[in-house]
Amino acid sequence: MTQSLKDKLIILLLAALGAAFLVTFIAIEEQAEIFALLVFAGVLIIASAKLGLTDKISQSLSRNERLLNLSVIAAMLVVIFWFHEDHFPLLMIATVLLYVVACCGLNMQFGYTGVVNFAGAAFFGVGCYTAAVLGGTGTPLLLVIALGGVMAAIIGSILIIPVLRTRGHYAAVVTIAFGLLFRTFLEVNDTLGGPQGLPVSGMNLFGWDFNSNIQITENIEFSFYMNYVILALIMVILTFILMRRIERSWIGLNFDAVRLDETAAACYGINIKRWKILSFTLGNFLAGTAGALFAMMLGFIAPSNFAFSDSLILVSIVLLGGMGSIWGTILAAGLVVLLPEKLQVIQEYRFLLYAVVMILILLFRPQGVLPRNLRSYIPGWRG
């Protein structure tokens, strides 16, 4: 068997395994079974790492990027269609996907350019409120999603001056303050519903109502969440493409140079402000678009959805997955959103557990669960 055929088989096998794992994990309810499945997965991963399989697999993966991307999308579609009539699993999957989009935004800021943003939930919230306000006005709702992003980017520009002037901890404090202000502002602002929040009209695409179930034949009916999951998946794919293209361009190189050494970057003509503003704005845009669709899907939003703790969760997803790593973000968003939903034991100790995991990650694997690779500008090209 040739190497390239072997690579391809490995990828297809992994995608199938991943889909099967995800379906089982979401479907089973018994706590003991879920726990057993997690332990099984953990043992499998550690064993393959000890046997040196993970290195070989990651080489196979990096040689066949296109196939890998397509198989992951196919696997996701299998999982989604498996649960075609179950509201709750689809809601969970859509939530994970939208978190991926928002966290990619944070990753652009924090992972690429080193601009910390502890107000991720606030920018996500700007998108939500944009959707709530514009939802009833007859604006095309696909446009509303984009406008959610634009609003987040515009409101983010308030923060640009302090973010450019501060670094590290100080920049973190600035964004924390903004996140808190945002929530307080919503709570006292009656036109935006005050503490009670606002209803959001559902997505409607050219007369296709996202909030009613889809009748395929007499016996087969798809949950209306299916609409949202598919749209969210499309958003993830577009975000992924944007992130990848930026990373594999001179812009990505400038972002890295700004993060790693501002003085050296300035001595080589790199305009620090320009790149920080671009990555901060793009990141907020992504968080805003994710928020807009999220609000339409939930149908109702309130200030309590955008607390500081939610921002912390977004940051912890980025750190857990690995700074600047897109696959890492996808994996970590899945873990952070799904685990507490499935394991009720965790639910209550959620934040305690996150804190412990964060400390362990920063101590023992600071590059994250799936560290970012060196930049390869053109897949498969090495000079």
């Binding site: 361009s249 812009i251 190189l253 890295d256 300035a266 001595c267 080589y268 060196l374 930049r375 053109i378």
Partner: protein
């Protein structure tokens, strides 16, 4: 012969203070086309400060800097680079987690297209630009070390000190500078490695027409071998200027280094 006399860089009364400390005091110097000037002096005498003021990291408190006929005294670092000044740093400042190619490309900044539309949507044109620049970077690095040129996509953090210095110099040279500032290139290297690196630098100078170099260095063998002229600083003040032999025999210089009676 006339071109040889063209002034590339001129400091006039350049002064920089940090609080009460005068790091540079009324420093005058001139550098002509293709010249290599050695900047020497004890620790803390203002050598690196003069680089930092020249490249726009620090502002000057007085005096002026003229580069290729333009007054660049208050220019920001980015503009000084665009004008044709490239430098290395005393403690090598590379992006250790990036590849060799990435690091060298940071130096090529002014020739690359950084437009958002170009980078995100015109992938074919971008990839063409990447490949062209790769060829140039590889050619340049091959002069220094052909083996290193085969490792273009390996992280810089995994390399030896001398290789890092080579890459730092390549990063500076790829910008096609008119003036190259080398801040203690021999720091942390053995005599043998220092000699190797110096050979490389001289070779590169032969290739790039009219490249002037200012070299800050403690390694006197290196200064003697490559410089056309030496300037000695002490407490931010120029105490002597001339060919290495004259400077080395100067009484003030000996006192500055060994301490006077």
């Amino acid at each position: 012969m006339e071109q040889q006399q063209e002034t590339v860089l001129a400091f006039k009364g350049l002064t920089r203070r940090f609080g009460g400390v005068v790091a540079l005091n009324e420093f005058d110097m001139e550098l002509t086309n293709g010249q290599i000037v050695g900047l020497i002096g004890p620790n803390g005498s203002g050598k690196t400060t003069s680089f930092n003021v020249l490249t726009g990291i620090y502002e000057a408190n007085g005096g002026s800097i003229e580069f290729l006929g333009q007054d660049i005294t208050s220019w920001p670092a980015q503009k000084v680079y665009e004008a044709g000044v490239a430098r290395t740093f005393q403690r090598s400042r590379l992006c250790l987690e990036l590849s060799i190619f990435d690091n060298i490309m940071i130096g090529a900044h002014k020739r690359l297209n950084h437009g958002f539309m170009f980078n995100v949507f015109k992938r074919k044109a971008l990839q063409q630009q990447i490949k062209e620049n790769y060829e140039e970077a590889r050619k340049l690095l091959t002069i220094f070390d052909p083996e290193l040129a085969d490792k273009m996509f390996e992280p810089v953090g995994s390399l030896r000190m001398i290789d890092r210095r080579r890459i730092e110099i390549c990063r500076a040279l790829i910008s096609h500078p008119r003036l190259l500032l080398l801040d203690e290139p021999s720091a942390g290297m053995t005599h043998e490695e220092t000699r190797e690196l110096m050979d490389d630098i001289l070779e590169v100078r032969e290739m790039i027409d009219g490249l002037s170099i200012i070299l800050v260095e403690h390694e006197m063998g290196m200064i003697e071998r490559v410089t056309d002229k030496c300037i000695v600083l002490n407490f931010g003040q120029k105490i002597c200027e001339g060919a290495y032999r004259e400077v080395a025999s100067n009484k003030l210089v000996q006192e500055a280094y060994l301490g006077g009676e």
